[in-house]
């Protein structure tokens, strides 16, 4: 066994410091929204942090929409595919998704496993990320072909990998989260921790908290399995709307303004009630990675 395998993927990712894989057992629990929030928050963690977000959900890519980048074309340069920057000219939040490669928004990707595998390999080896502090990878639900391909191609950079597991509190979701955990164990993927999402809903009329998808199950599972519990996030309707209809950045018209100002999505995100809660989660993650946050 060699300690460093030289592959196109390892060469491409050698200037990426940490790779964080976001997964869940069940679908629709909030992987993509957690990935998006993680990418936004990490980018905001210091004025120079550079973050990439790679969407390997090939049949249901959500990241372009959530970052307000729907319909952006991807360009090819002599040094590979150029990612789409969601913060315009500042270029500290780079994004790649199969969603950018589809011509019409209703186009579907119907591929057998081998073809998906090839697409993922290409995403990992051909995207010109540049130097990144963090690469966040959003995955499809479950542990599918996509996950197996991902682990296979990332094997040469295994020391940079870690995972975050997202679940909702109800029994069916926890059951599936356990499968996800077994997958990380089987592939020796270190788990940074578990996030319980959609835990409780505050009625906008009377303020009463309803546990629409039950509550507390994630924390209990974390304790039982010896996982770090990163925190729980309530149902936040403001967040749904923000991630649903995020406006495109003003990047196409490069301005001399500091783009921190023009990165409206981040600004609007920071005003949601979820942002401070997620901030604590990010602190925990940074601590686990040995990157104490400066603030």
């Amino acid at each position: 066994m060699t300690s460093f395998q030289d592959t196109p993927v390892s060469r491409r990712l050698q200037h990426v410091r940490h790779i964080i894989i976001v997964c869940s057992g069940k679908g629709g629990v909030g992987k993509s929204s957690v990935s998006t929030q993680l990418a936004l928050s990490l980018r905001a963690s210091s004025p120079t942090t550079r973050v990439g977000i790679l969407d390997v959900d090939l049949t249901g890519p959500s990241i372009p929409r959530m970052l307000g980048l729907d319909g952006h074309p991807v360009h090819q340069s002599s040094d590979g595919w150029v990612p789409v920057y969601s913060d315009g000219s500042e270029a500290r939040l780079a994004c790649m998704s199969v969603g950018f490669l589809l011509k019409k928004k209703e186009d579907s990707v119907v591929w057998r496993g081998p073809k998906k595998n090839a697409m993922i390999r290409q995403f990992l080896s051909d995207v010109r990320w540049g130097d990144l502090d963090y690469l966040v990878i959003d995955t499809p639900p479950g542990t599918s072909d996509e996950h197996l391909s991902l682990m296979e191609h990332l094997a040469p950079v295994h020391s940079k990998l870690s995972a975050v597991i997202v679940t909702t509190p109800q029994a069916v979701a926890l059951l599936d989260a356990m499968k996800c955990l077994s997958f990380t164990r089987a592939t020796s993927l270190p788990v940074l921790g578990l996030i319980e999402n959609m835990s409780g809903y505050v009625c906008p009329c009377c303020g009463e908290i309803s546990n629409v998808f039950s509550t507390g199950g994630g924390e209990e599972m974390a304790r039982r399995e010896g996982l770090h519990f990163l925190g729980s996030l309530p149902v936040d309707t403001e967040l749904v709307t923000l991630l649903d209809a995020a406006e495109p950045p003003v990047s196409d018209t490069p301005s001399t303004e500091p783009s921190e100002k023009s990165f409206a999505l981040l600004r609007r995100y920071q005003q949601t009630s979820t942002a401070p809660l997620f901030g604590n989660i990010v602190k925990e993650i940074l601590r686990s990675l040995g990157e104490e946050s400066s603030s």
């Binding site: 629709g28 991807v74 639900p141 009463e208 749904v240």
Partner: protein, 289 residues
């Protein structure tokens, strides 16, 4: 810099075997077994001989088995976690309780069945493609009124396989489930596009988790705001029937967790009314054919 080529320019997905390599030209193509991609493919000889052209030899057996099942319905969702399995379960309960179909009772020999196992069977998408054809051709389904097939989210290998087999044995169509927000709807567009591509009729679209009624103040609010018009608007846009909207009732999830019929348990929930209405519409569609 040049814009990238369209990623979905591919041969008919149904003609690519599960074990084929990345650039398989499709078994129906003139290049089958002869293309560069075919080198090293396990099917090379059989494809080159022309024997792989034409229908799968398992098809007649599947067709035969399926001929005693009156209605076959696929339950699909684009996005995960929108309530597809819960809906399939409740639909199963409702069909099983239907007075009209009590004569054709078959006793099923597979798992995942309704406890009263009368005339509806639910089936969760098995992992392996081989298992799918085996299931369809080797299990004696007996005389069923309904076969409901619950599938994983998205458009995966399993979908291709099941569609290949069921299409040949006369599937009624697919019911697509979504939630109201745009990130879910964009996956529904892809799912309907998939149905069109492979020739499966869309029986209609169900919008789940539309609105939440607070148990305390009875005030209704939207958790997943339909920021682009929700399922109703999308159905119109894509030319499919809108079957109805089911509000979020936390008790629904619990019923599914414990395997009981929500419809019987909570007859006064607005969600029950919505479910029954949708089931009526689906039945009406099936009778039209």
């Amino acid at each position: 810099m040049i814009a990238l080529q369209h990623a979905a320019a591919i041969p008919d997905p149904l003609s690519i075997p599960a074990n084929a390599p990345e650039h398989c030209p499709g078994t129906e193509s003139d290049m089958a077994g002869k293309a560069d991609a075919c080198d090293g493919c396990a099917n090379k000889d059989i494809c080159a001989s022309g024997a792989a052209k034409g229908p799968d030899p398992a098809l007649p057996f599947v067709r035969e088995r399926m001929s005693s099942v009156k209605h076959k319905i696929l339950v699909l969702s684009g996005k995960g976690g929108v309530g597809k399995s819960t809906f399939t379960a409740q639909l199963g309960w409702a069909f099983a309780a239907d007075e009209d179909s009590q004569d054709n009772l078959g006793v099923m020999s597979v798992g995942f069945m309704l406890p009263s196992s009368r005339d509806a069977v639910m089936w969760r998408g098995p992992k392996k493609n081989g298992l799918i054809s085996q299931f369809l051709k080797d299990v004696d389904w007996g005389n069923l009124d309904y076969l409901l097939v619950d599938t994983p989210p998205g458009t995966s290998d399993e979908h291709l396989s099941i569609v290949t087999y069921l299409r040949e044995s006369g599937i009624d169509g697919a019911v697509v489930i979504t939630t109201p927000q745009e990130v879910a709807l964009q996956d529904v567009r892809r799912e309907i596009n998939f149905c069109n591509k492979v020739g499966i009729k869309v029986l209609g679209l169900v919008e789940n988790m539309s609105g939440f009624v607070c148990p305390n103040c009875k005030g209704e609010s939207q958790i997943f705001k339909p920021s682009t018009g929700g399922g109703r608007q999308l159905a119109k846009e894509m030319g499919v029937e809108f079957l109805g909207a089911v509000p979020l009732d936390p008790r629904i999830g619990k019923s599914a967790d414990y395997g009981v019929s929500f419809l019987d348990e909570y007859p006064d929930s607005p969600a029950t009314t919505a479910y029954l209405d949708i089931i009526e519409k689906i039945k009406a569609q099936l009778e039209d054919d």
